[in-house]
Amino acid sequence: MSNSTQTTIEKVNATLERRYAKERRFRKMGIAAIAIGLLFVVLLFVSIISKGHSAFWQTHIKLDIEFSAELLDIGDRRDIETLSTANYAALTKASLKAIFPEVDQRKGRRMLYKMISIGAPYLLREMVINDPTLIGSHQTVWLPADDDIDMLVKEQTDRNLPESSRRLNDKVIGWVDQLMARGAVEKLFNTTFFTAGDSREPELAGIGGAITGSLYTLLVALLLAFPIGVATAIYLEEFAPTNRWTDMIEVNINNLAAVPSIVFGLLGLALFINLAGLPRSAPLVGGLVLTLMTLPTIIIASRAALKSVPPSIREAAMGIGASKMQTIFHHVLPLAMPGMLTGTIIGMAQALGETAPLLMIGMVAFVVDIPGGPLDPSTVLPVQIFLWADSPERAFLERTSAAIMVLLAFLIFMNLIAVLLRKRFEQQR
């Protein structure tokens, strides 16, 4: 037994090296874990921003448009009805024909006309309706290009692929190059993306409708969830007697916070749509479902805020003769309000990003119009992302990423407000 000759300290010293190595390994594993976590954050943001940033610019083509009454086929009439049904596509066609007079076959012409977005005539119509004196004049107009051209100009289409596996053939690419050499192609800020509703044409599709839908949905959720949540918190924290009923409410709230969101969707479908007969795809129903989902968050945060108000405040108010209700509403609630608002904002941020329950209640509809109220069919921002993510067009890929960027910007903004509110609140204490 060689060990018997060693003293204890020698035994310990003999293993020290190994133990220290183990310690260093363990530490490195910890650092690696954090690094991997942060790497994922970076990867996610880089992947989305690199894909999405280009969607904020849309390729436009400069055209010389002659607003001739003859082409529009309206004669001398200038009333709104005639103006809104006139043939504006003829204007862009004539202008394109003037730039490329060598194209004379039918097929070639059709390819030529397709370079401009099919939404362009509507833009011209709007111009003319706003200012009928344009008729008869020459104007230089920047019109949105078709999404395939847009992808080509943004270099997201590979020119080196064989012609048969490209969406654009060599002829069209040649025309685009000619236009570019002339300075008639430019990427302009994509306002359509922020103002328009959904569309099958990527260059006409926007998140305006989805943002409005999200706004109405959140408004309904906020108007219901905040008062109910705060009232529940006040009751449970200040009035509730300790009995089984109160216990049940508390257990319930904790469990509701962990119910999968899709189950809330099932509830909304069965209760609000089937039983109560509310319209499908309406922000009102979406708001109701999200109210139930965010209630636990708001209640838990509000209770914590009420708990953190020092008892001396209550005692002082009671001491000068305020009733319990007066104490709570005049003294405790104002002090707890920042905490409650923080919880509410965080709850609303969750609601803004929520998708699954809204799929159940039919908010996945293809909605072109911008909703005008909480009962109009509409979709919300995350659902719009879900819908676009499925679209085969390449141009929708960058728009999906851009919509995600907008959604994340909203969420970061909301969380920032919550953090600032909490900071200010802590300073006051």
């Binding site: 996610l44 899709i262 009733s323």
Partner: protein
């Protein structure tokens, strides 16, 4: 729309009543000093407003919920027999819908006959009468309430107590909404599930190995029966959740250990919120990331090794879900690790243990129940997660354990069964509710167990 206007008018009237009640409290006849009032005048204002508005609002709510069925009934009774003869219940409903559309000036489904036009006129007339009498009742109740409130106001009136009592009732009612919500979930899901199990036996559902919910329209179509065996869905869910947990648990736990035991305060203040960004990102974004970035990456790298991977592999969905769960595990574990008393660490250091030995042999065993609780909570999240799997996992119910294969999950099936038009008497639609019920029960059990474990553990060290 009309009731919205009515409510707005009522609110305005309540505001007026509030002012009047307050004024009256100040100027009560025989009041020599404001001190003789039992309550502050503002409470008399609230009192008057409540009397003026609440009965009217209640009546309005009741009336609105009963008006439509009553009018439909009246209309049905007055329809000429030529229209209703030999129609089933569903067809009657359609007819009623036509009449309503005609009355509102919308497009109707069938031809417009004279009887239909008469019925529509009758319907409009009934609506008109209903609305006018509703307005009348609300108006009378408002006036009556206002007079009563006005007469009740006196120096002795305990207005504050009465207003506060009502307020307290309102608070109590709000707090029961949480319970009502749970009850709503259970009943709505249970009710439809029971209808489903009347058509498909429970044992077929729970033990069946085949899932193909398509029910053929023609009898001779392939797979016409439809199979509702949930086993493939649950194995798929478990496979994806398992992959997610294999990613999230080691990374989350190590991150929590490092942040709570080793990290400097500066690193902690920056790294923790940065990691928690992952928890705040909407799941639809993760889904997009999984479907369009991770899945192709996995397919390509599998192809490099000569392995065939599905473009909707379970691995992609599981991997991204794991990333989503990292902050969930790390922040919950961080809390429980911090709750372990410093004395236990000091004792271990005193015996000559290194930090990692202390962590692995003292801190983690002490924090184990809490960590297990947080893992269970994360698992219930993974099972109930929807958007990532809807976007990145497949639709075909394969019974496989190969992570490169495409599997489907419970939540994916619920979404596919319920998105779009549904009929509420086909087992295909009802199956979604049965799946929802199972999902609800599983996550409920996981949560209750996890919360109990965490709470027990917290009590042990407090």
């Amino acid at each position: 729309m009309q009731s919205t206007t009515l409510i707005l008018i009522l609110l305005a009237v309540m505001a007026v009543a509030f002012q009047l009640g307050r004024r009256r409290a100040f100027n009560l006849p025989g009041l020599s000093s404001i001190r003789e009032l039992h309550s502050l005048p503002i409470y008399h204002g609230f009192y008057a407003a409540i009397w003026c508005g609440i009965p009217a609002l209640l009546a309005l709510a009741l009336w609105s919920s009963f008006q439509t069925p009553i009018i439909s009934q009246l209309l049905m009774n007055n329809l000429p027999a030529t229209l209703t003869a030999g129609l089933s219940e569903a067809e009657l409903g359609l007819l009623l819908n036509d009449i309503r559309n005609l009355a509102a000036g919308n497009i109707t489904s069938g031809d417009i006959s004279d009887e239909l036009v008469t019925a529509a006129d009758h319907y409009n007339h009934l609506q008109q009468v209903g609305f006018s009498s509703q307005t009348g009742v609300v108006f009378i109740l408002t006036l009556l309430g206002a007079t009563l409130g006005w007469r009740f106001i006196s120096p002795e009136l305990r207005a504050r107590n009465k207003v506060e009592r009502l307020l307290r009732w309102l608070l109590l009612i709000s707090s029961t909404i949480a319970i009502l919500c749970t009850a709503g979930i259970i009943f709505s899901v249970l009710f439809e599930s029971v209808r489903f199990f009347e058509m498909i036996p429970l044992t077929d559902f729970i033990f069946g190995l085949q899932w193909s919910p398509q029910i053929a329209i023609r009898a001779d179509q392939v797979g016409s029966s439809g199979a509702f065996g949930a086993i493939p869905l649950f194995t798929g869910t478990l496979l994806i959740s398992l992959i997610a947990m294999l990613v999230a648990v080691p990374i989350g736990l190590m991150a929590a250990i490092y942040l709570s035991e080793y990290a400097s305060p500066q690193l902690r203040t920056y790294a923790k919120p940065l990691l928690e960004i992952l928890a705040g990102i909407p799941t639809v974004v993760y889904g997009f990331f999984a479907a369009l970035t991770v899945a192709p990456m996995i397919r390509n790298s599998a192809a490099q090794f000569g392995v065939d991977a599905s473009s909707e592999s379970a691995l992609a969905a599981g991997l991204v879900m794991g990333v989503m769960l990292i902050p969930f595990i790390s922040s919950l574990s961080d809390d429980v690790i911090n709750a372990v008393p410093q004395a236990m660490r000091d004792a271990s250091y005193g015996l000559g243990a290194t930090r990692s030995e202390t962590i692995l042999q003292v801190v983690i065993p002490a924090a184990l129940p809490g960590i297990v609780g947080s893992i269970l909570l994360a698992a219930s999240r993974a099972i109930g997660e929807t958007m990532i799997v809807v976007m990145a996992a497949g639709l075909s119910a394969n019974l496989t354990a190969n992570p490169l294969d495409s599997v489907t999950t419970v939540t994916v099936q619920i979404v596919t069964l319920l998105v779009g038009d549904q009929e509420f008497d086909s087992p295909k639609t009802l199956a979604a509710f049965a799946l929802g019920l199972l999902l609800f029960l599983i996550t409920l059990v996981l949560n209750v167990v996890a919360l109990r474990v965490v709470r027990k553990y917290r009590e042990a060290y407090e």
